[in-house]
């Protein structure tokens, strides 16, 4: 029987902290067996989302954030800082541990497998996207999407952001890219090593169009049916609690 995944479009575009609380509440409830396999799509307004092991002080240009009214929120997964604006589409997949799609416990395999749906969706739109280990989707060596994830709470969790029509000029301002990273990649700036779906297609494209393409990619790639749904009362309650105790707090977002 074809498995049905719940499709959630719940977002708090102007509240990156609540967005991240929802992002954590879903995999926790999926792991408890209270919620089904879920794919969520969402947006943030100007926000830096920093990896859980990163130092905000080292990675973020605070002055530029103030000038551009960019918020900073820490996520619960590792990986690097990314810049979100409304031209950036976020997706998240939560599957219960042991799900046949990703039977192992290897994070690299999780990234590779659960990026496939997005890769396929982007290719259907005409973007020559390919997965690039460790956690990127690239087009001709330029990053169009980055992923992060975890195996915890009895869940396989994978999320990523896709640069659809983001303002790359702000991205270059608000993130400090360490010299060691640039030297390794032989490129001069963060702006030169990323691209957007709009630039690749040479036309205006909405995040909704990309979302629909990815839903199609997920269905064909994984042989599942994706059906619109909403969060449960428990998920909403947990998200509210995580917002209060974690994501709305400076000590979580700005330290170390």
């Amino acid at each position: 029987m074809t498995e049905t995944w719940r499709l959630v479009d719940l977002e708090y575009r102007e509240d990156p902290f609540m967005n991240m609380a929802v992002e954590e509440a879903i995999p926790r409830m999926v792991g408890e067996g209270e919620s089904p396999s879920t794919v969520r799509f969402w947006h943030n307004s100007n926000t830096i989302v920093i990896g859980c092991f990163q130092s905000t002080r080292l990675e973020v240009n605070m002055e530029a954030c103030k000038e551009t009214k960019t918020e900073i929120v820490r996520r619960f997964t590792g990986g690097g800082a990314v810049y979100h604006d409304s031209g950036n589409l976020n997706y998240a997949i939560s599957l219960r541990k042991g799900h046949p799609l990703v039977p192992g416990q290897n994070l690299q395999s999780v990234f590779e497998k659960l990026s496939e749906g997005s890769v396929q969706g982007l290719r259907k739109l005409g973007v020559k996207a390919a997965f690039q280990p460790v956690n990127d989707i690239q087009v001709d060596g330029k990053k169009v999407s980055g992923a992060a994830g975890s195996i915890r709470w009895n869940t396989i969790f994978h999320h990523g952001c896709i640069l659809v029509n983001s303002d790359l000029r702000i991205l270059g301002k608000v993130l400090n890219v360490p010299k060691a990273k640039l030297e390794d990649r032989h490129v001069a700036s963060v702006q030169k090593r990323v691209t957007t779906v709009r630039d690749e297609l040479g036309r205006d494209v909405s995040t909704r169009e990309v979302r629909d393409a990815i839903v199609g990619g997920i269905e064909s790639c994984y042989g599942v049916r994706v059906k619109s749904g909403v969060l449960t009362r428990e998920e909403l309650g947990l998200a509210e609690e995580l917002f209060q105790t974690k994501y709305s707090r400076l000590e979580w977002n700005l330290e170390p």
Partner: protein, 100 residues
């Protein structure tokens, strides 16, 4: 001379080959690590284990054999999984920390 005067701050940004960035900020006193903060864009599962590694490194001599032993013991003991970073990368990053 007070103990704090002997303390040196060391730091390194170490890029794992083909992997991620490991940023070390540590306090050293007479060749030993007093405290260390490891940050970066790597992946480590379970995420909470990084604090355990930092704790294990406290008072360790800033020498390769001892560090290697400790970091290997951390991975074996916790069953932690690194991605974009290995046990060897953590050791090399710590040893690369220069006085600031």
């Amino acid at each position: 001379m007070s103990a704090t005067k002997l303390e040196k701050l060391r730091s390194a940004d170490y890029k794992a080959p083909g992997g991620k960035l490991v940023r070390i900020r540590l306090k050293e006193e007479q060749g030993e690590i007093r405290s260390v903060k490891i940050t970066g864009d790597f992946f480590l599962v379970p995420e909470e284990s990084l604090g355990k590694l930092e704790k294990m490194l406290e008072d360790a001599p800033l020498r390769e054999p001892e560090l290697r032993l400790l970091v290997d013991r951390f991975f074996r003991g916790t069953g932690a999984q690194g991605l974009g970073v290995s046990s060897d990368d953590f050791v090399k990053a710590i040893l690369a920390a220069k006085e600031v």
